[in-house]
Amino acid sequence: MTGNHIGRRLAKDALFKGVVCLLAFLSLLPLFLILYYITMKGISVINWDFLFSLPRPIGESGGGVVNAIVGTLMLIVLSSVISVPCGIAAGIYLSENKAGKLSNTIRLCVIVLQGTPSIVIGIIAYLWIVAPLRTFSALSGGVALSIMMLPVIIKTTEETLKLIPYHLKEASLALGVPYYRTILKVILPSGISGILTGILLSVARITGETAPLLFTAFGNQFMNVNIFKPIDSLPYRIFYYAMSPYPEWHSFAWGASFILVVLALALNLIARGISVKWKIQF
């Protein structure tokens, strides 16, 4: 009797483990399919022409996505320039003021901002920048993306700085170093790896964003480095080409996806590398 009972329980145990393992790996199936498709269909498209020439008129074959690549890089730089200083400063404030009404309000706002849908941020950027300036521009796209980068940068900065032992700051203050210098020259450098990781992760997040760019950066078949003019970007190109009927454009979409995924993966890997190699142990 007891033998049967235990047997059944052990069987259930084994079955459960099997189901869990199966489901866990099954959920990776789409990932592998996506990566497989991107690699197979994307790599064959990548060549010198694809990477360095401009798009051809509709229906003509050939051309490339250089304007989109440059556009994406420009948007990354633009949004980083706007969000990094503000984000790090706010992160420092939060780590230095653990309690307090303002701190808690800021933390709440960061949570809300992080969860705000990207399309809503796109509308905001349109209303704040495109409408008053009367033009679509890379600037408006950069502002939208920077709003999306802020929460990640603030959170990682705060988390990183909180980990730094108090005695470091104590020692610096005890030596008579002014407070602001302590923060800037002692605390920040110690946490640089975590902060950089946060920046790279937030960049990886916004590199693939399309929705905020729909009514802001607008797209551009030509190369553009002027932030007050519309600019193209890889995600926008992918969207535009994917929804078209031309098979060549579909392969271009895969090629651009390949570039985008490689870029995002590279950023993640670098972030991981930085957090390991540059981490200052206490």
Partner: protein
């Protein structure tokens, strides 16, 4: 203060200064911004590419639909808009200042479909209305079959797709259907955005509709002729008012355009009386403000626009026919030319 902070700050300021300098630097290439209809977009993209190679002016045109083109022109975020639907009185009023329309070419709205074997089909006006009203649900419906004796129509469900965005192509198509089908006139009407029957798919832009129909067996949609041709998709011949099934071609579209054109070029070509005319043809226009000094616009930019517009109704017309659009008649081109010459900057005409 010395340290990372001020150094980073000065780096940022330097960067911004560089970027602003790049912005203010006299543009080696003048860049104009346009948005709107996807109906003529293959033609425009070819024309703008040729214009860029010849005159070094960049024209960034995004196909966001005629509704989008009109809206962005009114909001003054673009230099010109593209639309296949003439602006309504309400839209003209919202613009605040006079807006001119110049036609650039003619095109055909074709009914394209995806059936095994790509048969060439004939459609009566009733059949077209029935399909897009959602009343004809299977391809072997007698309304379609009666016009196509000798074609084996499959028992496939009809998957109708329309434009999800505000579209001039929709306007031309619905205007035609309003004229030929009383039921359509009562239930749906004419417009850029319509209250389509439920359970129909919407796609963005002519490319979106073409892409969907191409992939979906049993799908049917309305697109500009060139999209169907470029993608080797079949399209139907439509029975016109004279009772003949007309295939959409350059010639049949031009035949439909043999009408008097008013000075403001506001004319509809659908349901044409011409015996050999394709009944779902239409002009497509470029729209812009008559008085170009607004929003701090520089004079040379307005001049660049005027030059572009003149070229498009003049020399640029040579690119129209190879892409299966119909060129402007002499009368239409002349009227367009006159309209462009009436563009002013601070009251004085731009083009001498």
């Amino acid at each position: 203060m010395s340290g990372i902070f001020p150094r980073a700050l000065s780096l940022m300021v330097a960067f911004f200064a560089l970027v602003c300098a790049a912005a203010e630097a006299p543009a080696l290439d003048m860049e104009l911004l346009g948005a709107g209809a996807t109906f003529p977009q293959p033609l425009y993209s070819k024309m703008f590419d040729a214009y860029n190679q010849q005159y070094k002016v960049k024209i960034n045109y995004q196909g966001i639909g005629s509704g989008g083109g009109i809206n962005q022109l009114v909001k003054k975020t673009v230099d010109f808009g593209g639309t296949d639907a003439f602006m309504t009185a309400k839209e003209l009023q919202a613009a605040g200042a006079p807006v001119l329309h110049i036609p650039t070419c003619l095109g055909a709205v074709v009914v394209t479909y995806n059936l095994p074997g790509n048969p060439k089909l004939n459609f009566t006006p009733d059949a077209v209305a029935g399909i897009f009203l959602g009343k004809i649900t299977k391809w072997n419906d007698p309304k379609i079959a009666s016009a196509n004796p000798g074609v084996k129509l499959p028992d496939l469900p009809v998957s109708a797709v329309h434009r999800a965005d505000g579209s001039g192509t929709t306007y031309i198509f619905s205007e035609y259907l309003t004229k030929v089908s009383r039921e359509w006139k009562e239930k749906i009407g004419t417009g850029k955005s319509l209250n389509w029957p439920a359970s129909q798919i919407g796609q963005k832009g002519n490319p979106g509709v073409a892409g969907y129909v191409k992939q979906t067996p049993g799908a049917v949609g309305y697109v500009e002729l060139l999209y169907a041709i470029q993608n080797r998709m079949p399209y139907g011949s439509i029975k016109n008012r004279a009772g003949k099934f007309i295939e959409p071609t350059l010639k049949s579209v031009s035949a439909a355009a043999n009408v008097r054109i008013p000075d403001d070029t506001n004319v509809s070509l659908t349901d044409t009386e011409a015996a050999a005319g394709y009944p779902i043809s239409g002009f497509t226009w470029l729209i812009f403000y008559k008085e170009q000094n607004y929003g701090g616009k520089a004079k040379d930019r307005a001049e660049a626009l005027a030059k572009l517009l003149l070229w498009m109704v003049g020399d640029g017309q040579r690119y129209v026919e190879p892409l299966e659009y119909a060129p402007l008649s002499k009368e239409a081109a002349a009227k367009a030319n006159r309209l462009v010459r009436s563009i002013t900057y601070n009251g004085t005409p731009l083009v001498k």
